[in-house]
């Protein structure tokens, strides 16, 4: 599907915060992925219209970034880190356990569509090795038993984690009367007024 009316409104607001609309491309793709769980062709086409990019440019950009998905993935994306600090504390073994217990290959999704398992690069929780993220929420010092319990909790909906696509649960919002004002660069050539405080020195 394309963008919902609520997301159209959000998209318009976000575009207004950037001096050039194209800068909103990645935030809007996240919005589309949040809506559908992955990036549909229709949503990408619409995002392209909104920011002035062709469908090829949109997909070409999105394809550079690992988090964007072009096909449905599991409700819960489990990213197990195996980078150096996690390697030292059994990250590869944890990934192997995840794949065996969920009966998937790395990158695969369980038949019931609940879980996708991915091998992640360093996710900045190195002292909590081995660590993983479920839909980008952290779990640290994960043993195989911890992993099995986590999977049970996720299946039972007890883990407090939203479906794939949602990142921050709080959105930035700027009240119109508080916005300093966003202009394209060619219309913002004047020195900011407060620099006059430097007096003759400026």
């Amino acid at each position: 599907m394309t963008l919902s009316p609520a997301n159209e409104a959000l998209a318009a607001e976000i575009i207004g915060w950037f001096p050039r609309a194209r800068s909103a491309l990645i935030p809007l793709l996240h919005l589309a992925q949040e809506q559908d769980g992955y990036l549909t062709d229709d949503a990408m086409r619409r995002v392209g219209e909104l920011v002035g990019a062709t469908p090829a440019e949109v997909k070409g950009t999105a394809g550079f970034y690992e988090m964007f998905r072009f096909e449905p993935v599991g409700t819960y994306m489990i990213n197990v880190c195996t980078n150096i600090s996690c390697l030292l504390w059994g990250g590869e073994e944890l990934l192997e356990h995840a794949c065996e217990s969920l009966e998937v290959e790395v990158g695969g999704t369980t038949d019931d569509g609940m879980f996708t398992v991915e091998e992640a690069e360093c996710i900045a929780a190195c002292t909590e090795a081995p660590c993983l993220q479920v839909n980008y929420r952290y779990r640290g010092r994960v043993t195989p038993d911890d992993f099995d319990r986590l999977v049970e909790d996720l299946r039972a909906g007890r883990a407090g984690i939203d479906g794939h696509g949602l990142l921050a649960r709080v959105r930035q919002s700027i009240p119109a009367e508080r916005l300093a004002g966003v202009l394209p660069p060619e219309q913002a050539r004047e020195a900011p007024v407060w620099l006059a405080r430097n007096g003759a020195a400026s």
Partner: protein, 472 residues
């Protein structure tokens, strides 16, 4: 919460952070479980640095930062005050881009600063914008850091509402918008020109140099300051207490404190705020106030002193101070404040392979030596680990490394061979390619016997003598 409820220095609400004894310039609020709220921030001196800045001239604020020799905390260690001075006069608008795309293997301090004290970062951004006349700020957070994104979004909402961000800040003529942007999974976007490309809605590939600094040509072709999260988080304290007080911590050439993430085979791995330049690796790894030594029954084999891109160090480097110059001269770099400690159980070839695999995966593909070379390095290391190594593979690895980074590669002294100082030369636009060479050269120089043992372990291929004509 208070110190008493912390277990061995760890705090439940900030996993990994260790609240030890020592000066706390940027982690002073981490012990509070509500440290990310405006209420707590204001109750603990928050936004006083901004008010102090607004009472003086922008130029005076810049002078203060220059006087404090605030070194960039992203990896390159360039002085922020000097970088700020590269803005060409009169070419408005200028922009501030905050690099919160922390993804160097082993590194995590920006994530904690964004999750635990987002207002401190926002205040730092405001001080920078005021000092330099930057008209808008873009706060770019790594895509995978969902909690950091929501803490920053919530803090920005509070700050806008309270009049700290946006129009007529604190009732003055200073007005600036801060907009959060966030990535979608690409290590290379941490490189500042790639970050700008990403912020312009494009594939995050580094730009050709020169110009070397986005201060000349940056976002939308305009002069742009790109600063790291930790760098900016230092500004509020500095504005309240002054450069002189700041310089009382750390060493003369590296004042203040720095955050280090120390991971690996340790008793108490953690993220520590450490006095810059005066603390040594030994104190950090073995000191009671820090990591408390290698896990029981084991000895140090090697450590990475500055993130996945840094050449590796060994026991004889433990007494070096945590300061860029001596670490560089000894053949590595302090980089992003990430130390990975490996004990005597670690397979050097496997550890090197894993770091190389990271760079092979994260190469953006723009420069051939990196795109192809990092992948070859990874594949050759993999076959050595799989028992398929060839006797020529060690030389081949070094030769591929030489194509990415020609000439002597930075490496620690060993067996009468002198150290090659940092940085490496490169045939690529950005340092990612040369980074892939670091673990290879470091481990071959030091643990060549481990490579050879794996290569010769391979069973000889039996030669079957087939009589002529027997196949028919």
């Amino acid at each position: 919460m208070d110190r008493q409820t912390a277990v061995n220095g760890y705090i439940a609400h900030a996993p990994g952070y260790v609240h030890n004894d020592g000066p706390k310039l940027i982690t002073s609020r981490f012990a509070h479980d509500d440290s990310f709220t405006l209420a707590r921030y204001e109750a603990t001196g928050g936004y006083a640095g901004l008010r102090a800045a607004l009472e003086t001239t922008p130029a005076a604020v810049h002078d203060e930062v220059r006087a404090a020799t605030l070194l960039g905390r992203g990896g390159a260690g360039f002085p922020a005050g000097v970088k700020w001075g590269f803005l060409p006069p009169g070419k408005h608008p200028y922009y501030l881009v905050v690099n919160g795309d922390e993804s160097e293997p082993g590194t995590y301090k920006d994530r904690l600063l964004m999750e635990r004290d987002p207002h401190q970062l926002i205040e730092g951004c405001l001080i920078a914008c005021y000092a330099l006349g930057l008209q808008q700020c873009f706060l770019y957070v790594r895509g995978e850091m969902a909690v950091a994104q929501e803490r920053i979004a919530a803090a920005l909402n509070e700050a806008y509402e309270a009049g700290y961000v946006g129009r007529d800040i604190c009732g003055t003529d200073f007005s600036v918008d801060i907009v959060m942007a966030w990535g979608a999974g690409a290590y290379i976007v941490g490189e500042e020109t790639a970050l700008i490309e990403s912020l312009e809605g494009r594939r995050g590939m580094p730009r050709l140099k020169p110009p070397y600094f986005p201060a000349a040509v940056g976002l939308y072709g305009q002069p742009t300051i790109v600063n790291n999260v930790e760098t900016l988080s230092n500004l509020p304290w500095m504005m309240v207490n002054g450069a002189e007080a700041y310089c009382q911590y750390g060493s003369e050439s590296s004042p203040g404190t720095r955050m280090f993430a120390v991971s690996g085979h340790l008793h108490r791995p953690g993220v520590y705020e450490v006095e810059h330049g005066v603390t040594t690796f030994r104190e950090l790894i073995y000191g009671d106030n820090f990591c408390q030594g290698i896990r029981d029954g084991h000895e140090l084999k090697m450590f990475i002193p500055g993130g996945g891109s840094a050449p590796w160090f060994f026991a004889e480097h433990l007494d070096l101070p945590l300061e860029a110059r001596p670490v560089g001269a000894a053949g590595s770099m302090l980089g992003s404040g990430a130390i990975v400690v490996m004990d005597d159980t670690t397979d050097a070839v496997r550890a090197a392979w894993r770091v190389v695999k990271f760079f092979a995966r994260e190469s953006c593909g723009k420069c051939t030596p990196c795109r192809e070379g990092a992948t070859w390095l990874e594949q050759i290391l993999r076959r050595i680990l799989d028992g398929e190594g060839r006797p020529s593979d060690i030389d081949l690895l070094l030769d591929i490394g030489d194509n990415i980074s020609p000439g002597p590669y930075p490496v620690a002294a060993h067996n009468g061979l002198e150290a090659v100082p940092f940085p490496p030369r490169q045939t690529t636009i950005c340092p990612l390619g040369p980074s892939a060479v670091a673990p290879v050269v470091s481990t071959i120089r030091r643990f060549r016997h481990e490579y050879e043992a794996k290569i010769t372990r391979r069973d000889p291929i039996p030669i079957e003598v087939v009589p002529i004509g027997a196949s028919q």
